[in-house]
Amino acid sequence: MTATADDRADELHAAGLDGQNRTTLGRMLGTGNVGYAEEGEDGVMRATVRIPEDQLIFDPSIIVFPHGGDIELTLINDDKNTHCALLPHNGDPKIIWLVNHSKGTARLNLDGPGAYWYGSTTGNDEGRGLTAALVMGGEVPDSAKLDRPAQPRP
């Protein structure tokens, strides 16, 4: 058995794990692109995610935000099938229905740091590949930190 880290995208492709109905039935989760949100002058962090045709993936499938806070996510369905997105949000998850060739918005509030999953909760979209992550970076406020010297991290 061999494993790889440096050329992971090529290896995933060669193994038939980064597309629909190749080695396995769907696309393995977590094999998509990484994107970064931009923070506006109003403090809102904005990003766009698309569903490409016949790929059953949110692209980028991981969006990195610099810290917790308010998010404006633009969702575009470029696919020729209907999907949706059930998204994490402080208060209650938010849902948006995305018919073929549609575009919508989700305004979310999430704490940081930490990672949150979301997916298209229709059919088995989530299992086929339409499960993606919103990753919040940053640190908690100083007032929430422990009174102790800096500690080692992994």
Binding site: V140, Q151, P154
Partner: protein, 562 residues
């Protein structure tokens, strides 16, 4: 290609449900009212029902004579779906509260509901988004909310104390109180005292330095923080290595709600294990205030006295579980505590003086505590790589789940676990957010049993026990109807005769119990409510049932109306 179809804006998931969105306004719950909670048994106003932690109700409509007629009035399904934070260890561990005809209860994964306690109808819901990668030792759980000052307070999995509007569930304020990068989390039910909300830390398996905090109930501003491991130079610091780093990762977390004496103005907080759990070689000394009860001045956050149940713990014997307050016939103010280490302690709660100590489990091999409180360790992980078996295991003779006290019988009803474990010391370096146990641990898979033990705390005598195939991993509640209600790991919810221990009734809930039942009354009808949903730290307290049926239902029982 044409322009995109406008999909609009994402909407709250609950808007596509039958949730009403609003609960009736209740009378205000404040400090004075919670102090008098015993006088309004129709409600369950605070985590333990009353500040003293007795989990006793004076309601007596359901009695020994009619309990066999008890039937479900309604069932509320929490709805466990999708990816959870810590899905493998999901559990429904909460204590519901009831205020003037509205029930408030929290569930796993950041959920809080207001429910009509007569019908089970969902009035409002709130869900705090929980990061999937939060460090959790023992599951995606929450043990309950506090209600008062027009608000519902919850400590979230990622250590935010939040306040919700009690009538709508909308968030009023949100204070970050813990460092998730340091392995901190939140699971305890907050406690309202005076104009403050008190809540404690979780993260003992990640070397978090434990603390209890008090916040302004209206604004969320912190009033005080009390660390339960002293810094160098502070009282108790002499019990840690002088020039070491051990105190910085010392543990003593406060992940169970304290009890409170309004006359003494003292909070009685149980503290968790030292870190690393099983490797004492890196932390020589007694390691105060781990595995202790600390009496904390509610006004200042200062520790007035302490009693340590397991000095220099090497078995993961947290003492976070309740310190039940009761008075002796001569008026002496006492505190009762059934510790993980298998011993039952009675302490003078005015000064921390030991009054009595006796074993409440059958098998204790880790060591011995003499009647005057002298602790002698006997078996413990000491040599690197050498397995050591001991009883009770790290979940203890009794874990966090709560006993109850019936002042009419004078008995305390203890849910007892008989499970051992093997620990093999494996030293490791400390890194924030990585488990810091210092051992490999395997809890016994098949040698286990349990019972409810009715104990006279004034003598130590066991009056009766109700035996069960499995350890008791849930709280019980006792009532003036002469009953003790107890859930089992195999799903039965049973009513026992408080005088004799005879089983008088049972209902199979379909999933094991790891929560705290309550009783209340609405429009003259008494109810008994219990969340069910097997899970949590099952590998710690009963791995023999790791594959048992999961669930997420809140059952509410009552006598037939006709």
């Amino acid at each position: 290609m044409t322009d995109y179809v406008d999909a609009g804006e994402a909407v709250a998931h609950r808007t596509l449900s039958n949730v009403k969105g609003e609960a009736p306004a209740t009378r205000n719950v404040d400090y004075e009212r919670i102090q008098g909670a015993r006088s309004e048994p129709e409600n369950w106003l605070t985590y333990y029902g009353t500040y003293d932690g007795q989990r006793y109700s004076t309601l007596n409509q359901i009695t020994k004579d009619n309990v066999r007629k008890l039937v479900p009035a309604w069932v509320f399904q929490a709805g466990s779906t999708g990816m959870h934070s810590g899905a493998s260890t999901y559990s429904f561990e909460a204590t519901p509260l009831v205020v003037d005809g509205v029930m408030y209860v929290s569930g796993p994964d950041g959920k809080v509901w207001a429910i009509d306690p007569k019908t089970g109808e969902e009035l409002w819901r709130y869900k705090h988004a929980s990061p999937f990668d939060t460090s959790l030792c023992c599951g995606n759980v929450n043990r309950g909310v506090a209600v008062g000052h027009g608000k519902v307070y919850m400590y979230t999995l990622n250590a935010h104390l939040i306040a919700l509007d009690a009538t709508t569930g909308e968030k009023v304020w949100d204070t970050t109180n813990g460092d998730v990068r340091a392995g901190e989390s939140g699971s305890a039910a907050p406690l309202i005292v005076k104009d403050m909300v008190v809540v404690g830390s979780a993260g003992g398996e990640f070397g978090v330095r434990g603390h209890l905090d008090a916040f302004d109930a209206q604004t969320g501003e912190r009033r005080w923080r009390c660390y339960t491991v002293p810094k160098p130079g502070e009282p108790g610091s002499e019990t840690w290595p002088e020039d070491g780093e051990a105190w910085q990762r010392g543990g003593a977390n406060c992940w169970i709600t304290p009890t409170y004496d309004p006359e003494l103005e003292l909070l009685f907080q149980g503290t968790g294990n030292p870190a690393p759990d099983f490797d004492g070689g890196v932390r020589p000394g007694d390691n105060l205030y781990t595995d202790s009860v600390v009496a904390i001045d509610v006004n200042s956050g200062e520790i007035r006295w302490h009693y340590q149940f397991t000095p220099h713990d090497l078995w993961d014997y947290d003492s976070t579980m309740e310190n039940l307050l009761f008075d002796a016939p001569d008026g002496r103010k006492l505190l009762a505590h059934a510790d993980k280490n298998g011993y039952f302690f009675v302490i003078d709660r005015t000064n921390g003086e030991l009054v009595r100590v006796f074993p409440f489990v059958d098998r204790i091999t880790w060591g011995e505590i003499s009647p005057d409180g002298k602790v002698t360790p006997k078996i413990y992980p000491d040599e690197e790589g050498v397995p050591v078996h001991f009883w009770p295991g790290p979940a203890g003779g009794k874990e966090w789940t709560h006993m109850s006290y019936n002042p009419e019988t004078g008995l305390i009803y203890i849910p007892v676990q008989e499970v051992g474990a093997t620990a093999t010391r494996r030293r490791r370096e400390f890194k924030e957010s990585i488990p810091y146990w210092g051992a490999g641990v395997a809890v016994d898979l098949d040698d286990h049993y349990g019972f409810v033990s009715a104990v006279d705390p004034l003598t130590g005598e066991e009056k009766w026990r109700w035996n069960h195939e499995y350890p008791m991993c849930a709280s019980n509640v006792s009532t003036a109807g002469g009953l003790v209600f107890q859930g089992t790991p195999s799903g039965e919810f049973v009513a026992l005769d408080a005088q004799t221990g005879e089983k008088l009734w049972q209902f199979q809930c379909g999933s094991g119990h790891h929560s705290s039942p309550i009783t209340f009354e609405v429009d003259g009808r008494q109810y008994v409510a219990v969340p069910t949903g097997w899970g949590g730290w099952v590998e710690g307290f009963l791995p023999g049932l790791l594959g048992a049926a999961a669930g997420d239902a809140l059952f509410c029982f009552a006598l037939p109306e006709d």
